[in-house]
Subunit: 246 residues, 2 copies
DNA sequence: CGTATCCTTGATTCGCTTCAACATTAGTGG
DNA sequence: CCACTAATGTTGAAGCGAATCAAGGATACG
């Protein structure tokens, strides 16, 4: 406790700095002037670190802020009274969490870190305020919400019309694409979630997910070992999606 | 053309008037002062009438405005390249359509009138402008988008974890609740969509929907004749949802 | 190093889809 | 207004894909 009053230099970065953030185009700061970025900086509260398995917020929590993922990996999930659970999304660096709370002032889902993570806390009242002053910020925020709506449409399509292997193919291609956007390899990555979480997200049981992985491996579409995935034939994986079996 | 300059008195109402609209609390105008309402009035462009089966917009159309349903009934749907289709929502009076277009400046789904309908056209650029000036409008708009996200979560849960009869029960209760909000009977209403559209929305085939309807009728949960539905035992219908079979 | 978690694989069951036939309703033009 | 036709809805039988049940194996973690 004695050391608390002397802040080590390395902790200065705990205060967010959109100005220097590498997640520009992904986040809310795209297209803002230097001056506007500075305002956004002062709006963004301290960052918050989370250990693996820690909750960022829970369903029922009062809504106060939205969060931008700086590092790490999250899932959001919803629970039914009878205990059934559904993962509604996975979020990685540059993506925004918490907008589900705006409508009712209460979060409607849980957000859990799947690995040690860090988020920028964006107090919502201040975001509203500032986005009345900065048009580009307003626009970015609206775009982020709208894209989330479109993402949800895609997921509904997946859950409503696709068979197990199509769902997994869509999932893998989506992961690949998002890793690419962040400058990582499109062909090789580590999943942060379990088979059960993938299954929950895709509306499948974990055994089915596992079988689909094995099938893809047999077919030389991917090489998979536990959470490590290498995409061997993205083209054929993509064809799995666009051509219905019947 | 000669008649254009003399506007018949009955057509005055073609221009929207949030001030007198009965959909206050449902729409964007909740909590606005008289003066602010007047501004919103001037923002809202003319209304637009649609015949049954007409498109309000199509996937790929440039995004220019969002729409508030004044009267009638809509569906939104998404198409996959291989022809598979999924209904992503049904919209009734007071609900907002078109927000899917904000993120990419292009609509990502089709919006079709399921009966003769009328919408208020809200040019988006002007909505952005005005919601920078009127805090209550900004807040309402954000809430509408956020609630849509939460609705989508619920639908994912439905598609991912529920069996056929649970899905239909959830659907009927949702319809009932929304009709109630609009001052109609909670127990008796006319569906505007076909079994196939219901099925598409619920991720089921039309035969399965039909069978579930018949089953509910046998069990005296509802009385159904084609599109007309009467809920006989809402309580038991609700219990179908909250208690998983296993 | 031991234990809990996660993953894989096989056998069986079950619920929904598919295919098919028929009934009913709505819409159209004579 | 009625006859005709297309669209929509219902029901049955068979097939299939994913869930369930079960056992064993791999991996991560304290």
């Amino acid at each position: 406790m004695a050391g608390k009053s002397v802040i080590p230099i390395s902790l200065v970065s705990v205060k967010a700095a959109c100005t220097q953030c590498s997640l520009h185009e992904l986040c809310l700061s795209e297209g803002l002037s230097q001056e506007e970025l500075a305002s956004l900086d002062s709006l963004v509260g301290a960052r918050r670190k989370l250990k693996r398995q820690q909750f960022l917020y829970r369903a029922g929590d009062p809504f106060e802020a939205i969060y931008a993922v700086r590092t790490g990996f999250f899932k959001t999930d919803v629970l039914l009274e009878d205990g059934r659970e559904q993962v509604t999304g996975f979020q990685m660096a540059g993506e925004i969490l918490g907008m589900d709370g705006i409508g009712t002032d209460t979060h409607s889902c849980n957000a859990v870190a799947l690995e040690d993570s860090e988020v920028c806390v964006i107090p919502y009242a201040q975001l509203e305020q500032l986005s009345r002053e900065i048009q580009a910020l307003q626009r970015n925020f609206h775009k982020v919400m709208s894209r989330e709506l479109v993402r949800d449409q895609g997921l509904m399509m997946l859950l409503g019309t696709m068979r197990a292997e199509e769902r997994l193919a869509a999932f893998l291609l989506n992961m690949s694409q998002r890793f690419t956007t962040r400058g990582y390899s499109a062909a090789e990555f580590n999943l942060r979630m379990t088979r059960e979480e993938i299954g929950s997200y895709l509306g499948l049981k974990l055994e089915t997910v596992s079988r689909a992985f094995s099938r893809f491996q047999e077919e030389r579409l991917i090489a998979v070992q536990q959470k490590h995935v290498r995409i061997l034939d993205g083209e054929r994986l993509r064809r799995l999606l666009n051509h219905a079996p019947r």
